[in-house]
Symmetry: C2
Subunit: 334 residues, 2 copies
């Protein structure tokens, strides 16, 4: 699963999850357990006419369900002096919706576990959760409240995909790499907040801060990319280069990005923030070279995606215009 | 959702959840959001032959899915000096499986969010999670690891019920009240641990400590009670009287328990631990007076349930042999 930002020191989340994955039983064919933005599981078979809800046993294949889980920790993932509890609540749901978006899925329902907040603070948190819940049609249907010394909001979101969800593992050499929006705004917003505090409304800085505090899950873009034939997809949470490296590792390919001046850096952000800042929650996806991704997005009424590079056959290559890139990015320290 | 134990001081979890529930949109007919052991949601309609996994839109009714979420906080829900991380992992999954059991459901899949543990400790935790996962056929399919100063394990479990899940709200005056096992062992085990530390293996004290450290979700009992016609059900996590009060409030009934000497107190536990200790994770259910619950359990090869009282029409009554009971029980302070 994807995680929010945090300094990468020592063991990283990906390493620890890989160690854990070795302890876990293997997923049956057609399911994906661990290692992608969301888990893909098959529900038990449903017999009879659709809508009766009769279960006829595990032998018969049922529909696919997506499950995404992500925790937001108060003092790690957000500086509570700089953002509001409503922002934190929004973000806790939005990052999970982004995981569903990265599979090309649509959200179903959410459950929320909150530690370390008492009324009325927990209601402030829920204001933000419910705003995102209504906007993205993902009802919050259950929750748990516990006491604790640290604020931890753990959200699980279900989802589904009409056809096959898009995994990280399907990219092939020659596939083009696209992103659904400009990069670096969230990191630039956090930089502004730390330096200056809250900006005035309706300024360019306010837009950057909003990208950090209220990330937008790219749900419509994820569905469009899946329908257009995306071969692999991920949301940009750790940082573009780090997240493309996850696709590369899962797919057994490398990647070569456009020359750096051609990459879509958000206005107000630096190139470094665009490549390594993370937390943007745009989607990065790969697609066969003949596929007209821009045409598909345009026909769906969505902003045009940006072509940023292509997959190469050398699985170790991470470059921009042939020049090696440092694999920057953010990972939780464990 | 049910929660683990913690001292009830000031605002309680139930109060806070009730306040939140007023902010939430109302569940559509046939679904249950908040306020029960697990949420009950209808998946979008599935068209075509079973097994194709084609979704035909939200208009058509689909099968019911159960969603349970519960967090275990290291220093609140367990004294890490007294129990092991493997025990904590077991318990984090088991309490969620118990919520599924309390609906009469069967578990589907689990996702796990862990805060505040680094390798190799997170692997010790997962040992216990995976033991319960294998024993109760609930694969862990996804997870998230985050840094933090406090250990928080938040688990979400999916589940389903072949027919209608059993809610808290269906008890009627005159219904008999049953529990699936003796009460108080978990509280007695915790008392032993605090006073004496780990007991010698294969002693009576070891069995009590095991009831505390490795609670057993009563999944088979929950299915049997649902099939036998249980009208309401809950798992005993807060304490018998407090949990029966949840059924009473949801159903608009009161209850009168057997005379206290007839209540099933676990060997080694006190009556107070049986009535108020909580954390036993046996199921309490109500059933029409003519239904032979013992016969149904016996036919299923399960230990016989205990008849402990009956529902009465006065919604304010909580008594034992007509004598008022204090509503004891444990609730997280918020």
């Amino acid at each position: 699963m994807q995680s929010g930002p945090g300094p990468d020191q020592g063991h990283g989340e990906q390493d620890a999850l890989a160690r854990l994955a070795r302890l876990l039983p293997t997923a049956p064919a057609g399911e994906t357990w661990f290692g992608d933005d969301a888990a893909v599981v098959r529900l038990p078979g449903w017999g009879g006419a659709a809508g009766l809800g009769e279960i006829v046993g595990r032998g018969q294949a049922g529909p696919l369900l997506l499950l995404a889980v992500d925790a937001v920790v108060g003092d790690v993932d957000a500086d509570l002096a700089l953002t509001t509890l409503a922002d934190l609540g929004w973000k806790a749901l939005a990052v999970n919706l982004s995981d569903i978006a990265a599979m090309g899925g649509r959200p179903g329902h959410a459950v929320v576990s909150v530690v370390g907040l008492s009324p009325p603070k927990v209601e402030e948190l829920y204001e933000g959760i419910l705003e995102a819940s209504v906007l993205y049609s993902c009802p919050v249907v259950g929750g748990d409240l516990s006491q604790g010394h640290e604020v931890v909001i753990s959200v699980t979101v279900t989802g589904w995909a009409d056809e096959r969800p898009v995994l990280r593992s399907g990219a092939r050499p020659g596939d083009r790499i696209w992103v659904t929006g400009p990069l670096g705004a969230a990191a630039a917003g956090l930089r502004w907040l730390r330096a200056h505090g809250r900006p005035k409304p309706a300024t360019a800085e306010a837009a950057l801060v909003r990208a950090h505090a209220r990330p937008r899950p790219a749900l419509a873009e994820g569905v469009a990319a899946r329908r257009a034939g995306a071969t692999a997809m991920i949301d940009v949470s750790d940082g573009l280069v780090a997240d493309l490296a996850h696709i590369a590792e899962a797919s057994g390919v490398g990647f070569d990005l456009c020359p750096e001046p051609e990459l879509p850096v958000a206005p107000g952000a630096t190139l470094e923030e665009a490549l390594g800042g993370g937390d943007d929650y745009v989607l990065a996806f790969t697609m066969a070279p003949r596929t007209d991704a821009a045409g598909v997005f345009s026909a769906a009424g969505l902003p045009l995606p940006f072509l940023i590079g292509e997959c190469v056959s050398d699985p170790g290559q991470r470059s921009s215009a042939g020049r090696a890139l440092p694999v920057t990015g953010w990972e939780h320290r464990l």
